[in-house]
C-alpha cells in the first residue's frame, strides 16, 4: 500500500510513448552488465533484451565484447556488476549447466561435434538414454528422429558425423541445442563455414524456429544475413552499447557505421584497370578430392579473379594443388608462359606463385612462434648466409613489415597467438606479399575478421593487384566476391562451371553455376 504514491503516473500516457510491437515482457534482460578482466574492461554497463519469438542480430567488431557477453550468458564468466533477468526473475548464471537449465543454448562458430560418433550420439552426448548401464541405441535413435525431421535433415541418425557436409554438421549442432528444450538460442557465426545454399537453408530454419516462439540471438559478420532475418539489431563497440536498430532501420550502412562508430563511404576499394597480358594460365586441372574435375582459367596482370562455390566444391583443394602442397592427378599451369611441375611447392614459390591458406591457424601460421619468425619462415634464405641466420637484418626488416602492413603489435618478438584474427591474417599477408608475388592465391582472406581489419586487407589486395600481380581470391562471402573481383569463377564438384564478367555479376548467376554441375552429372 505504501508503494502506490511512488509511482503516480503509472497510468498517465507519457508524451514520448508509442505503441511497441512487442508488449510481452522480455525473456532475457541484461541491465548495466559490466565485466572486467584485471585492468581490462571487456564490457561496461551493457543493456540488452530479447523477447520470445524474436531474432536479435548482435553485431560488433572483433574485441567489441560480443563473445564476453555470450560467455556471461553461458555461465562461463559471471559478470562483475549488473543484473540478469530471465523470465522476469533475477538469475545468476554461475556455470554452463545453469545456463542449460534456464533453456539457453549455444551453437558455436567452431563445430564441436565428435566425428567418430553418429548423429544421434552427438545430439544426446552425455545425456544418452541408458539401459542396464549401456546406451540404449534404439531409444536414442527414436529420440533423435523427430528433431532431425523438424530441421529438414533427412538422414539416418546412425550416420557418422564425419560423412556430413559442414552445413549438415551445423544443423546437427542446432539439433543438439533444440534437444535441450532451448528457449533462447544463441547462434555465434553459424554461417561462417557454410556455402550460400546451406546458409539459405539455415536462415529459413532460424525464421521457422522464431515462429515457434523461440528467442534467437544471431551473431554474424555477414551483414546481409543479419539484414535478412533480424527483427532488431543490437550493436556493441569497445564493450559498450553502440545503439540499436529496429526492423525498419536495419540497413547495411547503418549497421556498419554503428559498429565502426563513423560513416563508411566505401568498404571495397575501387577496382583498378586490368592489363591484357595473361600471367597465370591453368588448364584441365583436377584435384585429389575430385580426380575427374576440370578447372581451366587464366588471370591477367592486375586482375582479381574471385572464386565462388559451395563448401566442398573443391576450391581450397584446387588452391592447394596449384600451390603444390597437394599433388594433383592431371592438368597444366604456367606463369608468364613458363610451365610449372604439379605438386612442387618449391617450384611454385620460386616462380612467384603463393598461397595464403584458408586455415590461418593450421596452415598459415605457427602460432607459438613470434611474429618475426613467422614473417620470415618462407624467406629465411634472404636472411641467412651459409645457412646462418642474420638475426639483425631479420629483426630490422620484420619491424618494417610490421608497420607497413599495420599489424597492431608493440614488437615483432610476440607470439602470433597473442594477436587478433585480423592481425594474424596481416602477418600471413606480409609473409607472402613482401616476396613480390606474380600469382597470389587468397583462400578465404577475411574469414572471421572484423570490418576494420577487413578493409585494410582489401586495400592490401588491391595494392598488390596494382603492381601487376594476378590474384585468385577464393571466398564464401558473396559481398566480398561481388565487391572485389574483376571476374568471378564458379566451382562445382571440382570443375570450373563458368566465369562471370563484371556486368553479369549477381548472386543468382553464381548460385546457378554453383549447383548446375551436380544436376547435369546426376542426369547423365
Amino acid at each position: 500500500m505504501t508503494k502506490k504514491p511512488t509511482s503516480p503516473n503509472l497510468f498517465v500516457k507519457h508524451p514520448n510513448f508509442t505503441l511497441q510491437p512487442y508488449q510481452l515482457p522480455p525473456l532475457l534482460q541484461l541491465s548495466q552488465v559490466s565485466k572486467s578482466f584485471g585492468v581490462v574492461q571487456a564490457l561496461s554497463k551493457v543493456d540488452f533484451e530479447i523477447s520470445t519469438g524474436e531474432i536479435v542480430g548482435l553485431i560488433g567488431e572483433n574485441g567489441a565484447g560480443k563473445s564476453t557477453l555470450m560467455k556471461i550468458l553461458g555461465g562461463v564468466h559471471p559478470p562483475s556488476t549488473g543484473q540478469i533477468r530471465f523470465n522476469k526473475a533475477p538469475v545468476t548464471i554461475q556455470e554452463p549447466k545453469a545456463a542449460e537449465q534456464l533453456g539457453i543454448s549455444f551453437v558455436h562458430q567452431e563445430l564441436n561435434l565428435l566425428d567418430n560418433i553418429d548423429i544421434a550420439g552427438n545430439i544426446f552426448l552425455a545425456r544418452e538414454p541408458r539401459r542396464f548401464g549401456c546406451i540404449d541405441q534404439r531409444v536414442l535413435q527414436k529420440m533423435a528422429l523427430p528433431i532431425l525431421e523438424e530441421l529438414g535433415l533427412h538422414l539416418d541418425p546412425r550416420t557418422s558425423v564425419s560423412r556430413l557436409t559442414n552445413g549438415q554438421q551445423q544443423l546437427v549442432e542446432i539439433a543438439k541445442a533444440l534437444s535441450m528444450d532451448a528457449k533462447l538460442l544463441i547462434l555465434d557465426e553459424p554461417t561462417s563455414s557454410l556455402s550460400i545454399q546451406e546458409t539459405d537453408t539455415l536462415l529459413n530454419l532460424v525464421k521457422r524456429m522464431k515462429g515457434q516462439g523461440m528467442a534467437i540471438i544471431f551473431i554474424s559478420h555477414r551483414l546481409s544475413e543479419v539484414e535478412k532475418i533480424a527483427d532488431r539489431v543490437f550493436g556493441l563497440r569497445d564493450g559498450e552499447n553502440a545503439g540499436e536498430l529496429n526492423a525498419k532501420e536495419i540497413s547495411r550502412d547503418r549497421m556498419i557505421s554503428m559498429m565502426i562508430g563513423r560513416d563508411l563511404s566505401e568498404v571495397y576499394p575501387e577496382c583498378n584497370p586490368v592489363n591484357t597480358e595473361n600471367v597465370f594460365s591453368v588448364e584441365n586441372f583436377s584435384t585429389l578430392r575430385w580426380p575427374k574435375g576440370n578447372a581451366s582459367f587464366s588471370i591477367r596482370a592486375g586482375e582479381i579473379l574471385g572464386m565462388a562455390g559451395l563448401v566442398g566444391a573443391g576450391r581450397s583443394e584446387l588452391a592447394q594443388a596449384l600451390f603444390g602442397v597437394d599433388s594433383s592427378p592431371s592438368g597444366t599451369m604456367s606463369v608468364n608462359g613458363q610451365t610449372l611441375t604439379r605438386g612442387k611447392v618449391k617450384e611454385s614459390i620460386a616462380n612467384g606463385v603463393f598461397l595464403a591458406p584458408e586455415d590461418r591457424k593450421a596452415s598459415g601460421l605457427i602460432l607459438e612462434m613470434t611474429i618475426r619468425e613467422n614473417m620470415t619462415l618462407n624467406s629465411l634464405s634472404q636472411f641467412s648466409r651459409h645457412s646462418r641466420i642474420d638475426f639483425k637484418s631479420e629483426r630490422t626488416r620484420t619491424d618494417e613489415w610490421l608497420r607497413e602492413f599495420g599489424v597492431k603489435a608493440p614488437t615483432v618478438e610476440l607470439p602470433v597467438s597473442s594477436l587478433s584474427g585480423g592481425n594474424q591474417q596481416k602477418v600471413v599477408l606480409s609473409k607472402w606479399m613482401t616476396l613480390a608475388p606474380k600469382v597470389m592465391i587468397f583462400d578465404e582472406p577475411t574469414r572471421g575478421i572484423d570490418m576494420g581489419a577487413r578493409q585494410e586487407i582489401y586495400q592490401a589486395i588491391v595494392r598488390l593487384a596494382e603492381t601487376g600481380c594476378a590474384i585468385l581470391m577464393i571466398s564464401s562471402d558473396m559481398e566480398e566476391l561481388l565487391g572485389m573481383s574483376h571476374r568471378i569463377a564458379v566451382m562445382s564438384e571440382g570443375t570450373l562451371s563458368g566465369i562471370l564478367d563484371r556486368d553479369a555479376f549477381s548472386e543468382k548467376a553464381i548460385m546457378t553455376l554453383a549447383v548446375n554441375q551436380s544436376t547435369t552429372t546426376s542426369s547423365s
Binding site: F37, G38, V39, V40, F323, V325, V345, K346, I349, L355, P357, A362, S363, G364, L365, I366, L367, E368, M369, E373, L377, N378, L380, S381, S384, S387, R388, I389, K431
Partner: protein, 352 residues
C-alpha cells in the same frame, strides 16, 4: 618486468631452475661426502669425495658419453618425434665395431680402426636416413618405426655374437691409437667430455643459429604450416633422425671402448629412455617444437649427478631410480604450472 635482467630470467627460467637443482644436488653431495678429517670446514668440503679428481673425471666422462646421444634425441624430440632405438643401436654399433677390429665374424671383414669408424658413421647415416624416410615420407609413426629398431638392432647384435660378449683383446690390428683417442685425455679432460663439448657447439649452431634449426622448431610445432611455407619437411625430419643415429654411433664408440667388451643383451639398455628423460627434464616438449641445447645438457647432467650422489653417499642404488623418477616428474610439474613465472611476477601486478 621489461628490464633486460627480468627478460633474461624469463627467457631462461627453465634453464635457471635446472641449474639451481644441479647446484643443490652438487652441494648436497659435497657436504655429505666431505672429508671429516680435514682441517676446517671449507677444507673438508674441498677434499670431499665428490670434488676428488677421480670422481670429477669419471663424472665428466659420463656426462660426455650420455650427453652426446641425448643431444641427438633432443633434436628428434623437437621435431615432434621420438627415437626408441638409440640404446639398441648403440649395442649394435659396438658389436659391429668390435667385429671389424677382430675380424671374427664370417660376414664382417677385419679392418683397422680408422676406416672402421668411417664405415660405422656412414652406416649410422644410412640407418638414420631409413628411419627418417619411413617416418617423414611413408608416414609411419616414429614410435612404431623406432620400436622396431629397439627390438631389431639388439636382436641382430645378439644373433651375431650368439648372445655372448664380444671384446677386442684379440684384435687383428693395432688398437693403441683408438684406445688413446677414445679413453685418453685431452687437456687433462676425458676425450668423451671434450668431444661432447665440441658436439654441443655444433648442435647449438644447428638448432639456434642456423636455418635448419628454425625449420626444425617450426615443423615441430606445426608441420602443415611449415609445409605451406615451402619448407621441405621430409628432408628436415630425416636430417634430425640422421643426426640422432650418428651421435648414437659416436657415443657407441666411447661406450664400447669404455666397457672394453660388449654384451649385446645388456649393453646400452634403456639408454633411449635416459636420453628422453634428460631432454624432457631439460624443457623439451614431447609434442615437439620446444627445447634448447642448454636445457638438454643441463637435464642430462642433473640425472647423472643424481646418480653420482647415490653412488657416493652409499644410498641404496635401486632407490636412485625412484629419485630420478621424482626429479623428472617434479621438473615437468614445475613447468606445467609455470612456477618460475609465478615467482618472478611482482606481487602488485595483476593478470592482464
Amino acid at each position: 618486468m621489461n628490464t633486460p635482467i627480468s627478460h633474461f630470467f624469463n627467457r631462461y627460467r627453465k634453464e635457471g631452475c635446472l641449474a639451481g637443482v644441479l647446484l643443490f644436488v652438487a652441494f648436497w653431495t659435497i657436504f655429505f661426502s666431505r672429508n671429516t678429517e680435514a682441517n676446517g670446514f671449507l677444507q673438508s668440503l674441498i677434499e670431499s669425495r665428490f670434488l676428488s679428481l677421480r670422481n670429477l673425471e669419471n663424472l665428466s666422462r659420463q656426462v660426455g658419453m650420455y650427453g652426446i646421444f641425448s643431444l641427438g634425441m633432443g633434436l628428434v624430440i623437437i621435431s615432434g618425434g621420438i627415437d626408441l632405438s638409440v640404446g639398441s643401436l648403440m649395442a649394435f654399433f659396438g658389436t659391429v665395431f668390435f667385429f671389424f677390429l677382430t675380424g671374427s665374424h664370417a660376414w664382417i671383414p677385419g679392418i683397422p680402426w680408422a676406416p672402421a669408424i668411417l664405415v660405422l658413421i656412414l652406416f649410422s647415416v644410412m640407418v638414420g636416413a631409413l628411419h627418417g624416410w619411413l617416418i617423414a615420407k611413408i608416414r609411419i609413426p616414429a614410435f612404431v618405426v623406432t620400436l622396431c629398431g629397439l627390438l631389431g638392432y639388439r636382436g641382430l647384435a645378439q644373433t651375431m655374437t650368439h648372445d655372448t660378449a664380444i671384446g677386442y683383446y684379440d684384435a687383428k690390428f693395432n688398437v693403441v691409437g683408438i684406445e688413446r683417442l677414445l679413453t685418453g685425455k685431452i687437456f687433462g679432460l676425458p676425450a668423451a667430455f671434450i668431444t661432447f663439448i665440441a658436439i654441443c657447439l655444433i648442435v647449438y649452431y644447428l638448432l639456434h643459429l642456423s636455418v635448419f634449426g628454425r625449420y626444425l622448431l617450426a615443423l615441430g610445432r606445426n608441420e602443415q604450416a611449415a609445409r605451406y611455407s615451402g619448407i621441405n619437411t621430409i628432408l628436415i625430419i630425416a636430417f634430425a633422425y640422421i643426426i640422432c643415429s650418428v651421435l648414437a654411433a659416436v657415443s657407441a664408440l666411447f661406450f664400447a671402448l669404455y666397457t672394453a667388451d660388449v654384451v649385446p643383451s645388456i649393453h646400452g639398455n634403456f639408454f633411449e629412455l635416459y636420453a628422453i628423460a634428460g631432454a624432457v627434464l631439460g624443457g623439451c616438449s614431447l609434442r615437439g617444437g620446444e627445447g634448447t641445447v642448454i636445457g638438454i645438457v643441463l637435464g642430462t647432467t642433473v640425472l647423472l649427478v643424481l646418480q653420482n650422489m647415490v653412488n657416493l653417499l652409499g644410498y641404496d642404488s635401486s632407490f636412485s631410480k625412484v629419485i630420478t623418477a621424482l626429479v623428472i616428474l617434479g621438473g615437468v610439474l614445475v613447468d606445467r604450472f609455470d612456477v618460475w613465472r609465478l615467482l618472478s611476477r611482482p606481487k602488485n601486478a595483476s593478470a592482464a
